[in-house]
Amino acid sequence: MSDQEDIALMAHLMRRAGFGASRDELQSLVEQGYEKTVDQLIDPPESSPRADLYMLYRSMPSTETGGPNPVPGAANWLYNMLNTQRLLEEKMALFWHYIFATANSKVDNDNHLTIQVQLFRDHGMGNYRDLLLRVAQNPAMIFWLDNNENHKRAPNENWGRELLELFSLGVGNYTEKDVFECARAFTGWTIGAKIPRNPHQRFSWYYEFRPEEHDYTEKTFLGQTGNFDGEDIIDIILKQSACPKFIARHLYNFFVADEAQVPAWDIEEPRDPAAVKVLSDTLVENNFDIKPVLRTLFNSDFFKESMYQKIMSPVEVVVGTLRLTGDLRGPDPRLMKVGQEPSYMGQGLHDPPSVEGWHTGREWINSGSVVKRINFVADRVGNVELPGVQSIIDKVSSNGHGKTPEDLVDRCVDLIGPIEVSEQTRQELISHASEEGGLSWATNEERTRSSRRVGDMLALIAATPEYQFG
């Protein structure tokens, strides 16, 4: 494999398992080797810390305390994604947010969304059974799906239904009766509330089991009968063959290649049934531990062959661009505003449109969102003041690159990704570069002009159809 192919494969891994990487980072990872990098993503060394939340809360306390406003919570998460050195852990937190999609539009108590995301960060690479149980007892989830209204004498089916439909099995793998029995088993799993510290804040919730609300009578669920409670239900769910397949298909859709939308899964076969089976089998063989399945996934041929098979999600677009340009490191008041950018492209953090989560793949793209994403990236990669853009300009100017329009285009296409562009796209970019000829770096005036031209070229590349894939 040539150096360039190694770089391209490493860039692919880092885009999917993280949020992209600069050229310098990619080069040192290539030296370290692919499998070693996968290992470190899965088990990061002590020397790779998470983002420093103490620093964030000291300078921006509202990102911790929450309230009805979801903006500080999105800023909090963006800070984590931009500053963590445990990239896969953060990406898995996002993965579980796709599945256990909970929105502040109803929860109206945003620091509980932050707490839920922290749960995904802490346990998202642990064990799925353990995670499901923690989610069932997570206050934001309980309120989101009304399990606090699920009483022995008046069962509320919302959590019971979504647990089966969207969190574990998928449509077609249970009956309406199962939904009802499932709901009954979770009666009494509710929340208590502490008085808020400040009058403008929301009540702080905690999980509480109330025996007097719990239905202790017999239930028949997925063919089994007994005096089940919620934990028994989760164990029965995990024994269904539909369960590992459902999680495997989600992993494939998130990390490998765009699948059909979730509501179609009981009707449409997976894009790559063999790959989903490998992932599903790995889950079962490892008692639903997540790390082994991630290792299998990233080291598989189907993953390595899936470059540019996914439309980047808005969060990937925003975080990837900010990481590439080296902008917004550390606590920064601008996090509040920039944290809302993904929502303008159709993916509000802490605010999925419904418990079904987001529709992904090409559904990220419409004539509204395409405008937002292109403008966001172009405005930043075209800003020659930003350190990451400076670094790209330095790499172009060193060794006197960019003397011809072709070389300018090829360098920029390489250093912004690398990305793969069609020959037609490349010719358009070259035609654009040709209007002002090659770059020259001799005088200060020439340097300024050439830097601006690299910035404009990067902006134009960000606007290509190819750049929307990752």
């Binding site: 008046a154 509320n156 793209i365 358009e428 902006a459």
Partner: protein, 383 residues
């Protein structure tokens, strides 16, 4: 300009989450409504805004009652479809694609747009106000603009040198044009990029002409409907508008949520029609409201769970005002799993709009023939 010279326009407002039919249009003479199943939510008879001898609106819906009293609103009762799955997502998909038995890939309004503009000349023939694109408007090859912020809509707006930006937009146009014919996703992306470019130009031009004395509210639906009014009065050829408000998914704490949502929706609708009348742009518009299902008759002690039948509303000067179809039976024995039973298929309601308003053949759009309630007085005229 007379109606016959202006092509008919449809504005769809989706009440997302499952609107509680029984507390929206209240059967205030029906003892079943006042029995012990719904004690939490019952509106006392003297608070109901009475529309006729049997039915009335929820007290927060004053502006809606005014429109009804003027004869510009049709209420279509008992709308839904057989064997409702009572899942938001599935039900919303069914309403959007008219496919109750399989997952549809084409939205009904996308199909209508294709029939209205078969050669796809106008990239803003359909406009969604909001984030993302509703499935109802999604058909491969049919361009729909999705506008979250009307005022800053445009591509590569950060390039300061105008001459440079113009050149880059030309390159953009070439690159997205070439992406067509290189695989389904790339092709979709290519077309979307081109449409975004053209749509932005048309909208920018049109918006510079809008001014209005109507003061809309500050909530999301008021701002969305104001955007609809801005684009519609700019006369840029948009035929179908879509927007939504919610969430009406009131499993818990229903009264305050429901009251707030319907206060906002009612006020925004009244302001929207005032605005259109001021611009003499109301005659060729029909507005249509629906929700993916109604809610259960029995309350759950705090709110209501997912139900089946609901009501649809059609508003506009061409609407045959009043009640259409009959209110579903509320007796416990007449319910299906505790829910009101629909007897008007939603695809029949769509068919009326398609045939009697947009002058289209509804059968291929809604996948079949369904009984059509006649709630549109005169069709939309010019095509």
């Amino acid at each position: 300009m007379t109606l016959k010279e202006k092509p008919p326009v449809l504005v769809v407002l989706q009440l997302t989450g499952g609107n509680d039919y029984l507390n929206t249009v209240i059967p205030y003479t029906d003892s079943n409504y006042y029995d012990n199943r719904r004690s939490l939510l019952q509106i006392p008879e003297d608070s109901v805004l009475k529309l006729d001898d049997e039915l009335g609106f929820h007290p927060v819906m004053g502006p809606m009652k005014e429109i009804y009293d003027q004869g510009d609103m049709a209420i279509i009762h008992g709308v839904g479809y057989a064997k409702s799955p009572r899942s938001h997502f599935r039900s919303m998909d069914i309403w959007h694609t008219c496919e109750p038995n399989k997952v549809g890939t084409e939205g009904w309004l996308g199909r209508a747009l294709r029939d209205l503009d078969p050669s796809g000349e106008n990239p803003i023939g359909g406009v969604n106000i909001g984030q993302g694109l509703p499935r109802a408007m999604t058909v491969p090859g049919v361009s729909v603009a999705s506008v979250a912020d009307l005022t800053t809509y445009g591509l590569l707006t950060g390039i300061e040198q105008q001459e440079q930006r113009t050149k880059m937009l030309q390159r953009f146009s070439n690159m997205y044009g070439q992406a067509i014919g290189t695989g389904a996703v790339k092709e979709y992306l290519g077309q979307t990029g081109l449409d975004a470019l053209k749509g932005a130009d048309i909208l920018k031009e049109g918006l510079s002409r809008y001014s209005s004395n109507v003061e809309y509210g500050t909530d999301a639906i008021a701002s969305s409907l104001r955007d609809v009014a801005m684009i519609h009065t700019a006369d840029v050829g948009t035929r179908v508008f879509y927007t939504q408000h919610g969430s009406f998914d009131t499993h818990a704490s229903q009264p305050p949520t429901f009251d707030k949502l319907w206060t906002e929706v009612s006020g925004a609708i009244a302001d929207f029609w005032d605005d259109l009348r001021q611009h003499d742009a109301d005659e060729n518009v029909v507005m249509f409201l629906f929700s993916e299902f109604g809610r259960r008759v029995r309350d759950n002690g705090s709110g209501t769970d997912h139900g089946a039948a609901g009501a649809c509303f059609a508003i506009g000067p061409s609407i045959k005002g009043g009640m259409h179809n009959v209110y579903p039976e509320t007796r416990a024995e007449a319910l299906d799993q505790g829910d009101l039973v629909p007897d008007q298929d939603f695809r029949g309601v769509y068919s009326t709009i398609l045939e009697d308003w947009l002058n289209l053949d509804p059968v291929p759009i809604v996948n079949g023939q369904f009984e059509q309630p006649k709630f549109i007085e005169k069709n939309g005229g010019a095509v």
